[in-house]
Symmetry: C2
Subunit: 429 residues, 2 copies
Amino acid sequence: MAVYEATASAPVNIACIKYWGKRDTKLILPTNSSLSVTLDQDHLRSTTTSRADPSFTEDRLWLNGKEEEIKEGGRTATCIAEMKRLRKQEVEDKQPNEPKVKNHPHHAPQILRSDHLGLQLSTHHVHIASFNNFPTAAGLASSASGFAALVSSLAQLYKLPVSPSTLSLIARQGSGSACRSLFGGFVAWEQGTLPDGSDSLAVEVAPQSHWPDMHALICVVSDDKKGTSSTSGMQRTVETSPLLQHRIKHVVPQRMADISAAIRARDFDKFAEITMRDSNQFHAVALDTEPPIFYMNDVSRAIIALIVEYNRVSVEKGLGRKAAYTYDAGPNAVIYTLKENVKEIVELILKYFPQREGAFKDVFGLLGGVDVAKVEGNVPEGFNEAVAKKFDVGAVKGLIHTKVGDGPRALGAEESLLGNDGLPKTLAA
Amino acid sequence: MAVYEATASAPVNIACIKYWGKRDTKLILPTNSSLSVTLDQDHLRSTTTSRADPSFTEDRLWLNGKEEEIKEGGRTATCIAEMKRLRKQEVEDKQPNEPKVKNHPHHAPQILRSDHLGLQLSTHHVHIASFNNFPTAAGLASSASGFAALVSSLAQLYKLPVSPSTLSLIARQGSGSACRSLFGGFVAWEQGTLPDGSDSLAVEVAPQSHWPDMHALICVVSDDKKGTSSTSGMQRTVETSPLLQHRIKHVVPQRMADISAAIRARDFDKFAEITMRDSNQFHAVALDTEPPIFYMNDVSRAIIALIVEYNRVSVEKGLGRKAAYTYDAGPNAVIYTLKENVKEIVELILKYFPQREGAFKDVFGLLGGVDVAKVEGNVPEGFNEAVAKKFDVGAVKGLIHTKVGDGPRALGAEESLLGNDGLPKTLAA
């Protein structure tokens, strides 16, 4: 008997223009448009297998081998229901099986049965297993790549003839920023204006191939305290920050236009300027919230000071800004820079943030095989070393080097996360 | 021969509605009105002696015993020149000496000479010695109390028949926030609209006696790095923060009205809400600056978390907010609270921030004679202790307990900081 199953992987994305605030919390419609860079799945990804089977008695979901409840009316349930609805609307209703079979009596019964089951996929329950290849402790949000992989695997399973933008409408209802992980390269989430959210979707600003030298260095920062969740945090900002409305109406629209133009022109200096300003403004409106929300800590601040000084030196040499920091709802820094500067920036970070052995998987071979714990670090000529103090080992507990990447990938059956029994192959995280 | 000299002390003030941004940097005209509480000079003060003498060959100034250059066209020079101008305009030009003496030939020549010299005070050079009773290391801005004491001592020396508001116009040109130290109690600095700044002055919202139970606990926080000076920082915010303009036009005016009403009604809950929101918004626009400005650090954030939780418990009990944090251009917290709550708050702070011996001068006798290093600290019932971690000794390196106070005081000759030779009595800081 046929197994109806598909496996997909989806990338992480890190916003340059930040999403912070919903105008509709159920449909997840944002108060402003946002724009991100999709990171390479070769390094950071969520992989998801979805299977539909008439023997399944309910929809079930496993994250990193651990079963998660699919709450009725919750975000996961919504995404699954929407994908089933699309399956019915775009595939099953357009290719009704019964009449066709009646008109073609030469179809063998077993084929008919199999086709029949396949065409009824939307009526079957699904088992879904998802795995993130980056540890939760890295502090990277997995909801964007996770919901993008979920929607992508179901789209593949259901053979949906729809665009990534259409899928982004559904991923958005799982986690807002997930909609941006449906594309590779440089991606805008257009806020839209319709009450039903049907125009609040992701579009490609430029593909990965447009600017493949865009690299990213993630500095994983330790934090003592659990920050405010972004879901509750952003709504508190919407309700209490007087500055947010100004940001939404008068700042973001221009920035969206300007950074899109900078990306199209491959103008890194401008890209960096806008990215850093928007990260700062997002954290500013978080701070303008009652009670205030802080995501950055003293280590985050020190990394900002290093990048500001690094750019000052570079601008003074007439080279423009060479790096852009950005911070999401946590203390981790993501530093965008062009390929040619990554080594210099890694050395700069190592000068102030010594690492434990193995804390950097040097996938691009920057350090020539030397372990990161043995690298002293260095600052560029003219750099004022006093802008930050040297921290203890572990203040930045790891570095991840990656670059702009492609959109969701369809994987082969050999990558399936589900066993013959319909349960996850491994239960370990 | 008569000595023309006067000594005055002036208080520190800590703003609830923050001053951040100038529309005129020379006249020091602010982009928005602000409001502060004047703190008690019994605890924190600047004391200044000004002397005029025909034998002096130039204007000279000593701060904490160390001579400071009076730069031509600088802020100190401007204040001294303005005070001399007022002396001439308000006193000397209105009481011309020569004609009077001629009409009264029974005046003895030496008296005539003395009076004559006195009436020409504005033409003499001055020696000025100023002393702050709080260490620079405390991180408290001394410019406000310093310029208020300077202007007050000169006003006394020159016997100026002018109001504190008029003097505030001059102190403002020394350091913007100094204008608010010309009054005790609760003080507004009205931004004004005239280009010459003649309506940008301080006014009393309510005197000290209106709400004497308003206490303040200053948590002196260690910091590794020197922050951006407020003078250069605020201008960078004016030039680069898109959010500042919204704050100026649409947020501050209402807050000024609301907090003034709260003070008049002695509504601590409302006073606290506005004070905390405005502190947060000031730091938000600092963060929205390019490059961003940070004044608060992880210790500051932890104190905010403690006060937020302290208020949550209190609000839940139906008591409203009982404490308000506020942060100026540095990591120190100033916590406003009513007298009855100070002990509880000191114990709360001590629970998370153990102190060195002698790090708290317990002027109100809260700890019953026990040294602060020996006090364990405590949290109120229902307080979630997990909102912050316990810090090492020295993270908060000292506590200062004070309260709302009066305006500048005229001191007796025995308090003079200048010796017979016209030089500071002590050269030690």
